[in-house]
Each structure stands twice: as C-alpha cells, then as structure tokens.
Symmetry: C2
Subunit: 354 residues, 2 copies
Amino acid sequence: MKHQDLLFTNDVASALDKLINDAGSPLTFILVDDNTRRHVLPLLLENSTTLAGAKIISVKPGDVNKNLDSLSCIWTQLQEGGANRKSMLVNLGGGMITDMGGFAASTFKRGIRFINVPTTLLSAVDAAVGGKTGINFNGLKNEIGVFNEADAVIISTCFFSTLPVAEVRSGYAEMLKHGLIDNNDNYNRLLGYRVEDADATHLLSLLQESVMVKRRIVEEDPHEHGIRRALNLGHTVGHAFESLAMRRGNPIPHGFAVAWGCVAELVLSHMKTGFPSPELQRFAQYVYESYGTFPITCEDYPELIELMHHDKKNMSSDINFTQLGNIGEILIDRTASEDEIKTALDIFRDLTHQ
Amino acid sequence: MKHQDLLFTNDVASALDKLINDAGSPLTFILVDDNTRRHVLPLLLENSTTLAGAKIISVKPGDVNKNLDSLSCIWTQLQEGGANRKSMLVNLGGGMITDMGGFAASTFKRGIRFINVPTTLLSAVDAAVGGKTGINFNGLKNEIGVFNEADAVIISTCFFSTLPVAEVRSGYAEMLKHGLIDNNDNYNRLLGYRVEDADATHLLSLLQESVMVKRRIVEEDPHEHGIRRALNLGHTVGHAFESLAMRRGNPIPHGFAVAWGCVAELVLSHMKTGFPSPELQRFAQYVYESYGTFPITCEDYPELIELMHHDKKNMSSDINFTQLGNIGEILIDRTASEDEIKTALDIFRDLTHQ
C-alpha cells in the first residue's frame, strides 16, 4: 500500500494548496457533482491560491450516476484537458465522487495522482480511506473498481453545515461502529456526543479518532482477506434492511441501516459470544433515540434472511457476520442459523421499542 | 509487485491444469478472440483435464476492438457467468487479449486472478510480462488501464506454427531489442538464429532468456520511473515509422517498426554516446536481411520528427530516447536535436540499402 497523507483540518483550502505545491504544482482537475459544484467549490476556490487554473469536471449527483457513462465522461474530460501522468485529480464530494474519481484517476494512463476531499460525514469516515474505488455496473454496486489509496485525503467537518442533519446522523453510525470495534474509551466518547450539537471542532476530533481506527485495520489487511471484515459489523443485517426498504419503495439512509444492523448483530453477539447485556441495552437505547427504528414484522423475516444470503461477503451457503465478545473484541467470519437470526430480529424489535 | 509464476513450456494444457488445480479449481473463464477460439482453444481443451467446465468469453480480434465496448462485454459475461472474487480468467491470445483481459480481471469486483497464455511471439516476449494492462480510448492507445501482474504466465512457442512468418519475425524484433540492452552473449545467440528455421525448442530457450531480461528490468522499476525506459529502445523512431505508415494507408507490423527504429536509434547512440560502428553495421545488416527497410526520403523528416514530439514518454519539449554506449550499456532519458535526428535518418537509409 502506498503512503497516504491523511490531514484533519477545517482549513481545507490551505491544506490543498500545500499539497499541490508540494506535488510540484501539476496540472490539476477537480471532480465535483452538481451539489458540491454549487455549495462547496466556490468556498474552496475563494480561499485557494493554487486552484485558479484548475479544470472543473462535473457529473450528475447520486449513486445512480456512479456508472460507466459518468466514468467515461471523466476520462474524456481528463484527456481533452490535456492530463498527463503527472497530473492531479481532486475529488470533492461524497462517497460517489471519491469512489468514482478514485477509479478514474487509478486507470487514466494507468494511474495519475489523486486527492480525496470528502464533503459528507459518511464519506469522510468511510469512503475516503481504505483504497476502495469503483463504479456500479449492470445494477450491481461497486462491481467494477480497484484497490488504490489516494495520495492524500483531507478530512474536515466544515462542509457539514450545508447538509441535512439526517445525512450527518447517517455518517455518525459508521463512527459508532468504529467505536464498537475499537475500545471503551473511544466508544464512550462517541455516546457522549449528539449530532444535533453540530460542534464542528468537537466532531473533527471524534472523526479523527474514528478514521484512524479504520486506517489501522485497513493497513493490516488492505485486500479484505481477514481482519478488515471487522468493518462489516452491522452491515449484514444493515444491507438486508436497506434492500428491503428499497423494495418497499421507501429507501432509508445507509447509516441508519448500519445503526439498526449493529443493534441486531450485537444481539447475535450476545447470544453467540457473550457480548454483555448492559452494553447491548445502552447501545440500543442510543440508537433508538438518534435513529428511531426500522419497522418489521415476523412476516418480513424470510425475505430479510434471503437478502442476507445474497450478501457478496458470503463465500459459502452460510451467512457471514462480524460479532463482538465485548467492546473492542472482534470475531470475524462468524455464522448464525436462521432460527438464531429470527430470535435476534425479535429482540431487535423489543430493544427499539417496536 | 505480486509474485508471478512464469512458466516456459510447450505442454501448455498440463501447465494450465496444474495452475488451476493449485488455485483450488476455481470457476474458470477463458477469454479468446475469433482467431484463438478457432485455432488454439480446441488444442487446449482437447488436452486439458480442468477446462471442460470453463466458460468461454469471445471478442472480435484486432487492436481496433481493444476498446470500452469489448471490455464492457467481458465484464458482463463474467457477471452473468457468476464470477466471484475467487474466480480465474485465462487470457488466451495476442497482446490485445492479454492487455484487455488483464484489465478486465484487475477491475472486476476490484480484482480477480488471471493467467496469461500469449499465443503470438510479440505478446509472449513483450505484452504478457510487465503488468501493463488496458484498452485504447477515444483513439489513443492504452489510454486506460492499470499496472497489475498476472498470477501466472505460460510462455510457449507451440502455437506459432499457426501464424504467418512475418508475425513471428515481428515478435523477434523485441527479442533483438532485449539482446541489445542485455549483453553480448544473449545478443550473439539471437543473431545466430533465423526465424525461418521455425525450431520451436530452440526458439523457446531464446525466448526464455529474452523474457527474463524484461522481467529483471520490470521488477527493478515496475512503474516506469527510470530503468524500465530501457525497454523503449527503438520505440521513439519505431512509433513514428508506424504512425507514418498508418497515415500513408500502408500499416507495418509493430516489430518491423521496432527493428528499423533500433537501427536509427543505434545510429544516434553511435553519434552521441560512442556505440561502436562495427556493431552498428552488423545489426543493421541483420535487420536489413530479415526485415528489409522502411522507405523514406528527406521530405518525410519533418513529419517523422513531429510524430516523435507527440510520443507520450516525452515529459518536456525534448524528444526522449533510450541510447546505448555499447551492447548492454543502457543510457535512458537521452535527447537529440532535430539536426542530429535528420542525420541519423540519413545514415539509417544508407545502412538499410535505400
């Protein structure tokens, strides 16, 4: 894995200027979507000394546009803009922009340099570190891509004030997950913060701690052969909730699904590996207060279990879970029977006041 | 760079069977073009014990089809064939197949395993080792791709009997280039062989020596920041010859252009860095006898020089050359003035009996 600069600052323009100067002031391109072009790019251009000559590449927002057509447009604009092997691409946006821009840069002339500037909490905590780049293809998420770290990532909280609070809450769920797999101190600090406080400085320090958890794990296992699967905590059930909501025509934010998924998978951890009951109840209460619940009945169980079977992390017919023995005690590649999953879903409903 | 198995054998089916068994007999896909599907695949299927269940992916032949449409078809067929992260892709064909198949495998689900089985001498000696994968894009060659070594490459000479002799001769030019940058022994052995001998066993041993030259250089500099540019010997002038021939509507085989390009660039080496005159004359004579010449007049010089200026290896306004002080004495990142290049082209014409 190449060395990646990871910068935590709310003075993004200065950080970017320094990186671009240090890189020898190459021809620079900035990838944005319609949202970040309107709300974030002007702030950056106003305060930067190096971006005046940068070329702007704009794509339509939303995961639905994280596709081969958009990618092909980015490649074409790099080409027409005269990008060479020394050029730099700055990806300014949420996970869709950092994923697709990272892949475009990794493959243009067999790889040019790129810097990620995540503008949502979800992309800051999750998508901008770890080297996963890619696009959706033929209806499958992230089907095409490569593992390749950005040359630098600038993490800030100053753009979040332009976002709906539910969007920030959604990203915070991934931080909670990192707290659960890290240790009690980190975890307790996270439960002590409320997203509605909107304290950019406090949140930046929590975010730094959270990103470093992910970074440590990814450095240990860049290609997800083992311990990196710890990061899947909450995601087996969470993805099933997300897909069910999609089928119902009522999509839910990814982070909300992860928060609820973590509750359900901690129930399984309690049942199978002794995760302590008081911690489970405390976590479930925090999630209920911040995220409410995902309404299901026992009639939904077969469909949810079928969705879990289709998770791409499964290597056999068993459903793969990450579980915890306690806060910070990670157990990867665990399974559970269908009956155990149904019981866990019953308890999930109780714990979230359904 | 990952460890890559490099196998030299004319029993390709057995070598492939062993690799696939050792890999745990994964779901296997074979990428072919219409030519290798007809002439090579049946030989392989007949003698293999592991390939009976393999899924065949077929694309149209020729560099013109090394494009995003073909790539997208390959991804779709991997997807529809149920490929997962443990699947294996066997690329059976010339450089177009190994380049594009390597890129498809490197990006499908962020990377599956692949084995290259080059079926032309050019792809055996050049394209199948070195980790360059990719496709052409918007009319530019190899514009999109990644550096990623195959998990294994099976090098053989047994399929060459299905090829026109000019095709084999074309590949042999890259071997001559490797001899020039390697040492006298290797070089002399190469000048002692004639392609029309068609001795598969003798050629396999020369080919092995030649591929190992490339491998040593690529391992030292996988991303072409320095010594790997030694492999560009003959290619600055060679590409210009190739492009000029294309514009004239009379395309020439790549290797022929490289052979002639080597003569011209050794003339420059003689002029600028003292490459010995007797060696230059001996090499030029071998090239003339095997490849004839590329007919040019001094009226073509400005166009050739303009083409050299557009070479993607140039980082400044100078034209970049690899030169030799003697056989095996490599000097990268050399330049020459336009007058020097014109003189070298004059001498090239003399040496190749124009």
